[in-house]
């Protein structure tokens, strides 16, 4: 099992560690609910060093990424990031990724459990191209710092913090250096809150983590650690898909509600299949459900309309923010409109559920 550069810190903090995507990761420190609520109200830091980090250089770097990504990479400006899917020939999703463009390279963050598959897919499609693919995952650390206090803190305390964010907007990205150590900072995340994702050399990981999580001795809020458990409940409230739940090789981006990250006017692997899904309309669509009561609908639970099975749950939780049982799942398109009354089979009981628009939670403007 792989360990992130922060592994010793997680142990010191008494985190519960689990295997995730081939890595030993903290699922929680104090409690999932507590970490969730603190992210929505203040600022938390997540070790996301397990995410795959790939760097592309060479004359054909852009051509390669435009061939494998659903998003138009040629249109991606320097200093910007974009969410994209990577598909197979059938339009099935191999992974969901974030692509960023620096002055002299392109960069991709992919899922931990898909890293080897994606590297192999990229290498196969790079045959005959002038492009170098560096997997920098184990040489670096990555943190996500999320919550409404994050951006104001990094702006107002810029001179005291080791990481500078400048004036970038959402999905912006900048590089900088602190005591000779280069870092990249992205204004993105997976919680539904504003925040940052920081990549830095593995050796600097512990130092910067300790600095950022110091108890505040001024009016700055304290950044507290949060684990993968809270990351999962936060992304569910924000209606964000998770690979292995909403996304897999038999699901296409249009059915998964991600048509906005697909440029059907360009050529890429899977484009023909996706044009057909777009023309015919998806058979089943990703759908948000609010269930009656407190029971949680788990992945694989059947979605019912009367006695008929019309879909399947992909993720569910008891939403800490809404206090309601929420779920996402694929439902026959005709029954996926908000206000439709359905039910979810939980241990043999048909629990009434109402279709609602995604996301379940939007941060206050």
């Amino acid at each position: 099992m792989l360990k992130t550069p922060l592994n010793e810190i997680h142990r010191r903090l008494g985190a519960r560690l689990v295997e995730f995507g081939g890595w030993e990761m903290p699922v929680m420190y104090r409690g999932i609910n507590d970490e969730h609520v603190y992210t929505r109200s203040s600022a938390t830091i997540f070790d996301v060093s397990h995410m795959g980090r790939l760097k592309f250089t060479g004359a054909d770097a852009e051509r390669l990424l435009d061939r494998v990504c659903t998003r138009n990479i040629a249109k991606l400006a320097v200093g910007r990031s974009a969410y994209s899917h990577v598909c197979n020939d059938r339009g099935g999703i191999l992974d969901d990724v974030i692509v960023s463009r620096a002055k002299d390279y392109l960069y991709m963050v992919c899922n931990a459990g898909n890293r080897e598959k994606i590297v192999a897919h990229l290498k196969k499609n790079a045959e005959g191209m002038t492009v170098k693919i560096d997997d920098t995952t184990t040489a670096s650390a990555m943190f996500a710092i999320q919550g409404p206090a994050v951006i104001p803190m990094f702006k107002s305390q810029a001179e005291k913090l080791p990481i500078k964010i400048g004036d970038m907007g959402r999905y912006g990205f900048v590089t900088g250096s602190y005591m000779g150590m280069g870092y990249s900072v992205f204004r993105s995340g997976y919680t539904g809150e504003d925040g940052l994702e920081i990549v830095l050399p593995a050796m600097a990981g512990v130092l910067v983590w300790d600095f950022l999580t110091k108890e505040s001795d001024d009016d700055r809020v304290t950044i507290k650690p949060a684990g993968l458990g809270a990351r999962d409940t936060l992304r569910m409230e924000a209606g964000m898909p998770l690979y292995g739940h909403e996304l897999n090789e038999d699901v296409d981006p249009i059915s998964a509600g991600c048509k906005w990250c697909v440029d059907l006017s360009k050529d890429f692997i899977g484009a023909a299949a996706l044009r057909k899904v777009d023309a015919d309309g998806p058979v089943r669509k990703i759908t948000g459900l609010v269930l009656e009561g407190r029971r949680i609908a788990r992945q694989g639970a059947k979605i019912l309309s009367g006695d008929r099975e019309v879909g399947e749950v992909t993720s569910g939780t008891l939403s800490p923010t809404l206090g309601k049982s929420i779920a996402m799942g694929f439902v026959e398109s005709a029954l996926a409109a908000p206000e439709t009354k359905l039910a979810v089979d939980i241990s043999g009981t048909a629990v009434p559920a109402l279709v609602v628009p995604l996301p379940f939670y939007k941060k206050p403007q």
Binding site: V27, M28, G31, I32, N33, G229, T233, G293, R294, R295, I296, R298, T317, L318, S347
Partner: protein
């Protein structure tokens, strides 16, 4: 961790406390800590007949749903209705206020067959 010796345990972390012929059942501190953030407890109705070794309900947390197993056979005489609105009682006080059901046991001696506190603790340390 507190594993009081006034009760008997199952490997699957349910405790059983006998008073007369009424056995109170709940889950241990260890199980409550493992589950964390309990969101729902599904319990049988009063009058339901339970069989030793069979599930009598389910406990749900943010991460998973687990069966609750009865270590004794008997008839349910009372359920902790407070858990309907406050399942978090199982997290905060699993060994007392977070109890789940009371059962009129058909054979009180059967309890002797469950794990004693030291045996349960030994199993935890090997966990």
């Amino acid at each position: 961790m507190s594993v009081p010796n006034d009760r008997r345990y199952l490997k699957s972390h349910e405790w059983h406390k006998l008073e007369g012929d009424i056995c109170t059942i709940g889950i241990t501190q260890f199980a409550a800590d493992e589950l964390t953030d309990i969101t729902y407890v599904s319990l049988p109705s009063v009058g339901k007949e339970l069989k030793a070794g069979k599930p009598f309900g389910e406990v749900e947390s943010v991460k998973a749903t687990s069966d609750l197993i009865a270590g004794v056979s008997g008839v349910v005489t009372e359920v902790n209705s407070k858990l309907n609105d406050a399942p978090e009682l199982v997290n905060s006080d699993p060994m007392a206020a977070g109890w789940m059901i009371k059962v009129k046991v058909s054979d009180a001696a059967a309890l002797e067959g469950l794990l004693a506190a030291d045996q349960y603790e030994a199993q935890l340390s090997g966990h």
